[in-house]
C-alpha cells in the first residue's frame, strides 16, 4: 500500500458511470486482469483529478477502467478487468425504495 493517498474510491465514479450504465457498478465485483484480485468496484482506487477518470486495482495499482468525456463522445476502456459480476436482486431494491 503506497503512502500517497490522493485517490478516492469507486463510489465516486458512480455518477459518471450512470451516464453509460443503467446498472450501478459500485456493488459489482470485478476481477483485476493483472493480478487476479477480486474486489467490489467501490473499493477500487479512483483518480479523478486528471483529464479523465482512472480506476486502479487496490492491490496492484494496475488500471482497471478509464473513462474520458470529450466534447462529443465518451471513451471507456475496461481492459483492466476480466469481468464484472453483479447482483440483480440488489438492483431491484435500489430502484424501488418502498421495498
Amino acid at each position: 500500500m503506497n503512502a500517497n493517498i490522493s485517490y478516492l474510491d469507486g463510489n465516486a465514479a458512480a455518477g459518471e458511470l450512470s451516464r453509460i450504465f443503467t446498472v450501478d457498478l459500485t456493488a459489482a465485483e470485478g476481477q483485476c486482469a493483472n493480478c487476479g484480485a477480486k474486489r467490489r468496484f467501490a473499493d477500487a482506487h479512483l483518480y479523478v483529478d486528471c483529464p479523465g477518470l482512472v480506476a486502479r486495482c487496490a492491490m496492484c495499482d494496475h488500471v482497471l477502467l478509464r473513462l474520458v468525456n470529450t466534447a462529443e463522445r465518451t471513451f471507456l476502456d475496461l481492459r483492466g478487468m476480466t469481468y464484472l459480476n453483479l447482483s440483480t436482486k440488489q438492483l431491484t431494491l435500489l430502484q424501488d425504495p418502498s421495498l
Partner: protein, 244 residues
C-alpha cells in the same frame, strides 16, 4: 441518469464551517441511506464544476432531501454552497447514486458506523433511516472529529444516544477534547476500536467514511480486530474532505 434542478428551501448551519442545505427536487425518485448526489455549478461564461455530496436525510416519499456541506479553505464549490447560496436558488444535481455504500432497512445484522470528519454525513442518513423505520438493527457509531465544535448534528446525536441503546455513540477527538475527557486527543487506535466497535464474532456490517487517509487507517484497524474484509464498506472523500 440526467441532471435535474432542485430548489433550496432551507439552510441550517451545523458548525461554523458546515451547512445543511435542504432541496426540493421535483420527481425525486427516492433514495437509500448512504447514496449521494452530484451537484454541478455553472458560471455565466460556461465554466462548470461538479462535486459529490452525500445525502444526509433518510429515505423519503416526499421530494425534499438534505445535504451537509463543509467549507474547505481552498475549495472551489464548498465556499459557494456554504456562503453564497440563498433560499430560492436552484442547484443542478444528478442522482441518487451509489449501490454499495448503502444501508437498507431490511438489514438485520449489527451495524458499525465509523466516521472521520465530514464522513458522518452518509452515516447520519443511515441512522436517521434506522430510526424512521421499523428496523430493530443495533447501531454503533464511532465519530472521529478534530474537536467538539467541529462535530455535525451534535444535538440530534445527543438525543439519540439518550434514547436507549439502538445507537451507541462514541466520540474520538483528534486535536482538542472537552474538559475532563477520559481519552487524550489523537487518531482512533486499536484500543478505542476494541472498546467501542462491535466485536467481530457478531459479524457486524461496517461502514467507514471520511478522508482517504482516515478510511485506510480505520479499515486496517477493523481488519486487525478480526472483522472480515467482505463486511467492511468504505467511502473515501478526498484528502481535503471534498469529493469531486
Amino acid at each position: 441518469m440526467s441532471w435535474r434542478t432542485g430548489k433550496i428551501v432551507a439552510l441550517r448551519d451545523e458548525t461554523s464551517t458546515a451547512r445543511t442545505i435542504a432541496l426540493v427536487v421535483p420527481d425525486w425518485p427516492g433514495h437509500v441511506a448512504g447514496q449521494h448526489i452530484d451537484i454541478r455549478l455553472t458560471a455565466p461564461d460556461g465554466y462548470s464544476a461538479v462535486r459529490s455530496y452525500s445525502i444526509a436525510s433518510p429515505p423519503t416519499s416526499d421530494q425534499r432531501i438534505e445535504i451537509t456541506v463543509e467549507r474547505l479553505e481552498n475549495g472551489e464549490v464548498s465556499p459557494y454552497l456554504t456562503q453564497e447560496v440563498a433560499i430560492g436558488d436552484e442547484l443542478e444535481l444528478r442522482g441518487p447514486t451509489g449501490g454499495w455504500f448503502v444501508w437498507h432497512v431490511d438489514q438485520t445484522e449489527p451495524i458499525q458506523l465509523i466516521a472521520g470528519g465530514s464522513g458522518i454525513v452518509p452515516l447520519m442518513a443511515m441512522i436517521r433511516s434506522r430510526l424512521a423505520s421499523h428496523s430493530n438493527a443495533r447501531f454503533r457509531l464511532l465519530y472521529s472529529v478534530r474537536e467538539p465544535a467541529a462535530a455535525f448534528y451534535k444535538d440530534e446525536l445527543h438525543a439519540i444516544s439518550n434514547q436507549g441503546d439502538c445507537v451507541i455513540l462514541t466520540y474520538a477527538f483528534t486535536r482538542i477534547t472537552p474538559k475532563d475527557w477520559p481519552r487524550a486527543p489523537g487518531r482512533i487506535d486499536a484500543e478505542l476500536v476494541s472498546e467501542s466497535v462491535w466485536p467481530s464474532h457478531l459479524a457486524p456490517t461496517c461502514y467507514v467514511c471520511g478522508p482517504t487517509s482516515f478510511v485506510e487507517h480505520a479499515n486496517e484497524l477493523l481488519i486487525a480486530a478480526g472483522i472480515n474484509r467482505e463486511r467492511i464498506r468504505t467511502e473515501r472523500f478526498g484528502s481535503t474532505g471534498e469529493r469531486k
